[in-house]
């Protein structure tokens, strides 16, 4: 993987070895080229003319901003509910009841194999619920948490595994902290990168989810993108890039806002 080091000092990793740099470059190219192709097409106006007309017509469409705002709101609600339900469960499972791990793993992959259209049919047959729940877009949050489950669970699972939970809990208990304080002040800060990962994945999933919103007649961003994609060629490409950039900025926002939190670490990793 990298050059053999013969010196005894902790010199490993001062620079990225050339093999790593080449790899990053090749992978970067692989990710950039299709986006560039889409971008070039989005600026095309026929023949050899290029201009921003597709973008201009897009940003003037109210439906774009309304659906985007709806999706972002749903994403935030989904993250909140997901973490609220999952963090305690995964934590407790890791700490006290590791036997349940297989059950958790199985549950976490179930959303992959239940087709969305089946899930929506089942959900609506079961829950005719109060109208304030079932009639508003917030209804989507319930299945979205399930859809995001494999990813959020996995992110939290990997994150908690890297921590020494037993020591953390014992230490904080011996200092007099109850469970609530422990979770807020000790567990969550230590899970920062896992939480960020879970949040990022959830946002991406909610922004891209189509079937549920389509059948339940809610106008989310993905429904809007799909509709533009069927009808307008260059606008579809423009919208692809626009949504890519917008989601990317949202992600950066999540990442940078998590920077400030202090991290209690046992034996720093860096």
């Amino acid at each position: 993987m990298s050059r053999r080091r013969t010196s005894g000092t902790a010199d490993a990793g001062r620079h990225i070895p050339w093999s790593g740099a080449v790899l990053l470059l090749v992978v970067g190219l692989y990710f950039a080229l299709p986006l560039i192709a889409t971008g070039v097409f989005s600026f095309w106006e026929g023949g050899t003319r290029y201009g921003p007309s597709a973008y201009i017509s897009l940003v003037h469409q109210d439906a774009l901003w309304e659906s985007l705002w709806l999706s972002l709101r749903l994403a935030l609600e989904t993250i909140g509910l997901s973490l609220l339900v999952l963090v305690p469960a995964v934590f407790w499972m890791h700490l006290r009841v590791p036997r349940l791990k297989s059950l958790f793993d199985f549950i976490s992959v179930l959303p992959f194999v239940v087709p969305p259209i089946v899930l929506v049919a089942g959900l609506t047959a079961l829950f005719h619920g109060p109208d304030w729940f079932v009639g508003t877009p917030n209804y989507l949050v319930a299945p979205y948490v399930i859809l995001a489950l494999p990813y959020t669970y996995r992110a939290l699972d990997v994150g908690m595994r890297a921590l020494d939970l037993r020591t953390l809990t014992e230490a904080s208990h011996s200092l007099g902290a109850g469970w609530g304080l422990f979770i807020l002040r000790v567990l969550l800060p230590n899970l920062a990168s896992a939480l960020a990962g879970a949040a990022l994945l959830t946002i991406a999933i909610v922004m891209g989810e189509f079937t549920f919103a389509n059948v339940l007649l809610f106008n989310t961003f993905a429904v809007y993108i799909n509709y533009i994609g069927q009808t307008s060629a260059t606008e579809a490409a423009a919208l692809t890039l626009l949504s890519f950039v917008i989601t990317w900025l949202a992600m950066l926002g999540v990442l940078l806002s998590g920077r400030g939190k202090g991290q209690a670490q046992l034996g720093g990793a860096r």
Binding site: F41, I117, A121, Y227, T231, A233
Partner: protein, 378 residues
């Protein structure tokens, strides 16, 4: 109140309407004469209009504005009757439409009307999702396009055509046999999987008709696409507007109204020709209207259906290049303006259009399921 914009067309129609309206109107629309609200060929049933207005809105689903001119249809309906139309999920499939009816049963957001493929109209009947209604113009809807008890009826149809990006393709193919020529390598695409997309299914059926098959025998169609794939001309990706316009799939087999609408929309960027293959009778597909049994706005729904199936509504379909179900009847009565006829592909083709019935469709589906994946290898 005008529905069309061209002055000469308005005059022509006034004349035609005067003749037909007087005869039909007095029979079907009491109180029509002297109504300033609507053009003579749009529904003017006062009681129904009042009841619909009282409901105030209409929920429709799966109606993209560029598909068969639904954008204009919705706008005109709204303007004429002052009813707000909530158009949701323009990209829903027929199966999703039925699911939406089931999922939103009892909610005020539920769809009032659906526009689904014939197989799904039948499925909807079986699941008890529709309520019967016979529009005023029921008699002139062809028998093979409606349910006898009024649970569904055809609204418009299209035929299979080639949409060709002329900026990329120098010589447009005119027949199915042409598609096999080496100059079209990697260019010919369908609008999805024949097992999942209506236009693609029809495309294979049409290819079958053009290669010695019949409505009872779809196998030659599959064999044709197998040949196309072997020659390297078949592009299996799901053709979209973007792929046609950008030239990535410069020959798309799709409904005529979709190809023509695309051509018109992107005319500033690219020249797209719509060609109906010449070898055989054109294969057509129609879509079906039905009113949901649980419609939250049933009177608005009925008024919508009256509007769609009236001469006015059917002409709006035709302006979107989708042939209305009552096309032959309207041609016979002379209510279609010449200028509109001129914009469409030659009418002779549409007189000969053939549709597959339920049994033929199911037989074709089972042949597809068994043979498509096996034979068509890209």
């Amino acid at each position: 109140m005008t529905i069309r914009s061209s002055g000469s067309r308005r005059n022509f129609l006034k004349l035609a309407a005067g003749v037909t309206g007087a005869s039909f109107g007095s029979a079907f629309f009491p109180g029509m004469v002297g109504t300033a609200l609507a053009s003579p060929t749009a529904p003017t049933n006062k009681a129904l209009i009042a009841a619909a207005k009282a409901e105030g809105q209409l929920n429709v689903i799966a109606l993209p504005p560029d598909w068969a001119n639904y954008g204009k249809m919705i706008a005109e309906f709204s303007k004429l009757y002052g009813i707000k139309v909530n158009s949701a999920s323009p990209d829903a499939s027929s199966a999703q439409e039925l699911q939406a009816v089931k999922s939103l049963k009892g909610q005020s957001r539920g769809p009032d009307v659906v526009d689904v493929g014939p197989a799904f109209a039948l499925a909807g009947v079986q699941e008890g999702l529709f309520q019967p209604y016979k529009v005023a113009t029921w008699a002139s809807i062809p028998d093979n396009m409606k349910d006898a008890s009024g649970l569904w009826w055809g609204d418009y149809f299209g035929v299979v055509s080639f949409g060709v990006n002329r900026n990329v393709v120098k010589n447009a193919p005119q027949t199915w046999a042409d598609l096999l020529k080496p100059e079209y390598k990697g260019m010919v695409a369908l609008n999805g999987s024949p097992l999942g997309a209506g236009a693609a299914f029809a495309g294979v059926f049409a290819a079958s008709l053009g290669n010695g098959g019949s409505l009872d025998n779809m196998l030659p169609g599959v064999e044709f696409f197998a040949k196309l794939a072997k020659a390297g001309n078949f592009n299996p990706s799901d053709a979209t507007s973007a792929s046609l316009v950008s030239g990535q799939t410069p020959i798309v087999i799709n409904w005529d109204y979709l190809n023509i609408a695309q051509a018109k929309k992107e005319a500033s960027k690219v020249k797209i020709d719509t060609i109906i293959p010449a070898e055989a009778k054109p294969y057509g597909g129609y879509y079906c209207q039905a009113i949901s049994k649980f419609a939250p706005n049933p009177n608005a729904a009925k008024l919508w259906e009256e509007f769609l199936m009236s001469d006015a509504g059917q002409l709006i379909y035709l302006e979107g290049f989708a042939h209305p179900a009552r096309f032959n009847d309207m041609v016979a009565r002379g209510v279609i303006p010449q200028s509109l006829m001129a914009e469409l592909p030659p009418a002779a083709a549409y007189k000969e259009v053939v549709f597959a019935d339920k049994a033929q469709t199911e037989k074709a589906q089972s042949v597809l399921k068994a043979e498509w994946a096996k034979m068509v290898k890209v």
